[in-house]
Assembly symmetry: C2
């Protein structure tokens, strides 16, 4: 199979989306799965929120610019990307905090069951949050069972309370079968919480169709909401009337401005709100979501697969790249919008790439991770990235001392 790269870019229906982002010309950014690029719409919106709304309209902006509804409004913009109908998604807090709310919500629904099944290789914060709940409530109410990926299905026994999984693995990009695992879990009466950090905005999702109970996800990766953007939380409508989450903040109150001393949860998805959210941060995310206008997740997925396939194809043509061992699934259907390779010098290779204007990231202990974001990446970018990588590996540029010193954030 041979590729005509210029032709691929010419036929790319998503190519015009690149102009919606501010990205440095010289950089090939393969780390949108860690921090999404800056949408021009966010720049404009932040300026508006800061200067006009905060600076000029001050406190009246809560009504005048509808700050108060922003968590719901932004949630409704995310919902279609998740395959979620209205009134089920809200934006607030971080993934960690939202997971905590959902873990306790789910455990409370499952009286007599305490086990929370997850994957050893899950993103650590997810496991940490369960450990925190376990320490607080004791093993009789919460017990983390973390198993290897291949043992998940066997672990779904009828004494399990919750199955909590990250849909796309942060290291390998492997995708779990959401429909199958949710169904198997439900057959045993298990409630399912999906972490969509590496899925939302990257692959098509069908939360409603898969009958998912709860989910959380990230605003700053494929949704391009800015560094540390607020997270989102999905709760299926069928559960709204029977749940209570523990972080009873005033923003989740049915009537916050009555300042009643007794907590009465708001109806619906709003009951998951806690404290006052950062309006600047949320507005940046809200504006960023407009780049998804007029494209479907199927189109994004198709280009994402084509980009990773091209990368692998070009890599195979260079024997100097053989030492980079693919640890993502070879079948593009089974992986998200990333490719990960292990190499003993992974950290130094990442640093050398960054020094040559190709930006991947390193994941301990030995992984170079490339993210492919179809909204701002071209096929020519992929070809250039391979050329740079080839140069670094063939010339062993990564052995240079300056690429070995680890920074605080890797």
């Amino acid at each position: 199979m041979s590729y005509n790269i210029a032709q691929l870019d010419k036929q790319d229906v998503l190519a015009p989306k690149r102009a919606l982002f501010n990205l440095p010309e010289e950089v090939i950014y393969l780390d949108g799965n860690s921090l999404g690029a800056l949408p021009k719409a966010s720049v404009e919106r932040i300026q508006q929120v800061v200067n006009q709304q905060w600076g000029n309209d001050l406190i009246s902006s809560w009504n005048k610019h509808n700050w108060i509804d922003l968590p719901l409004q932004t949630g409704e913009k995310i919902a279609p990307l998740l395959g979620a109908g209205p009134d089920q998604v809200v934006v607030c807090d971080s993934i960690s905090v939202n997971l905590y709310k959902l873990l306790i919500t789910a455990l409370t629904m499952q009286s007599g069951r305490a086990k929370v099944v997850s994957e050893q290789d899950n993103f650590p914060t997810d496991l940490y949050m369960v450990q925190g709940v376990q320490t607080l409530l004791g093993e009789t109410r919460c017990q983390l069972i973390s198993v290897a990926s291949e043992d998940i299905e066997n672990a779904l026994t009828d004494d399990v309370a919750v199955l909590m999984l990250t849909h796309i693995n942060f290291r390998t990009g492997r995708i779990h079968d959401m429909q199958r695992l949710t169904r198997l879990a439900h057959q045993k009466g298990i409630i399912v919480i999906w972490d969509l950090a590496h899925s939302a905005g990257a692959v098509p999702l069908a939360l409603d169709e898969c009958n998912v109970d709860f989910a959380v996800g990230c605003g700053y990766k494929y949704l391009n909401g800015g560094p540390g953007a607020p997270a989102f939380l999905y709760a299926a409508k069928r559960h709204h009337n029977k749940i209570s989450q523990p972080l009873n903040g005033w923003m989740g109150h049915a009537k916050p401005f009555e300042f009643s001393p007794r907590y009465d949860a708001a109806p619906g998805i709003k009951q998951f709100l806690t404290g006052t959210p950062s309006i600047i941060a949320m507005a940046a995310l809200d504006a960023a979501l407009d780049v998804f206008d007029s494209v479907s997740m199927a189109q994004i997925r198709q280009k994402s697969s084509a980009l990773t396939e091209l990368f692998l194809h070009l890599k195979r043509q260079h024997p100097a790249l053989d030492d980079l061992v693919l640890c993502s699934p070879t079948d593009s259907e089974l992986r998200g919008s990333q490719l990960s390779f292990s190499h003993p010098a992974a950290y130094a290779i990442c640093q050398a790439l960054i020094d040559h204007n190709v930006v991947p990231d390193f994941r301990a202990p030995d992984i170079v991770r490339f993210g492919f974001t179809p909204l701002y990446l071209s096929f020519a970018d992929v070809a250039k990235a391979i050329a740079v990588l080839h140069n670094i590996m063939q010339q062993r540029l990564y052995t240079h001392n300056k690429y070995r010193t680890k920074a605080a954030v890797t």
Copy 2:
């Protein structure tokens, strides 16, 4: 006593600070205790973080611009305003979420005690958070005892685990005696959590000297960090090695980038971090704090008292204002940087004032609340505000229909 207003403004050492804020010329903003005004430094910093750091330097900014240390760095800037030594203040999440962490931390330290004493008239979210913990853990581990203000001292018995109070009451502005109440609580083995939402940046504080255990506070009121700015959390150093908080997110891990599956809390104040924070929101607050450079909290307090005294003096000269009944303490030593008045038409009076470019806020059921922020308010502003208020009350302008319809946020 008579006032020479021009003279007061001329002698005001804080007057030059007004130029550090972007405030609409025509507005007299008496609501900085709800949403602080926009510091020019924040405008510039946000632009830098968005365009240069996020847009251009992308993921490398976590190291290059030290995003990773921002929660600690901003905490250290707040510490002197609290009378707190280094390594005890961190910026993260919301007041509500931080209170949750501290409530459970404190309850866990107090085995055998479950009572959390607070004030009926506390800001509701504080009470709600205790209610959430009570529902989760049961009354044997957490039991909210909310009492009238005058009954607090009697409620401090040796079966109480935690005293949780807001230092300055959001409705009346009444100040609790932090030193005395902390001491009385400690005599009974009670841990004390102070909510400093209306105190930080408004009145001098001495957390270390008062031997306070824990505290939380707000970034968006007197600290001018922007709408929904992240909150701060104080934990006395003497407790750092014996505590554990339940929201075990990866940012609070000793080595977050080792991605270890087991949670090991970071040493010191960093253990209170949970998820990834919004860098834009936090940078806005960090920059806003620079307006406190080269002024002392004593200077701010002195001007604040002078402003509220002037307001009350001028009010007394207008019999048409007698129906506005002061519900803040008459002794300026006993109240924070606000004045509250009850009136049956409080909501409409607020709306009429706003319509005439004087911005207070309404607090249910019947309070007009004026905040006095010495960094951007002049004595002339106070005199003008009284003139406008007098006009509205004397002419009964507030009875106009258009001022009666309540907005979503009051």
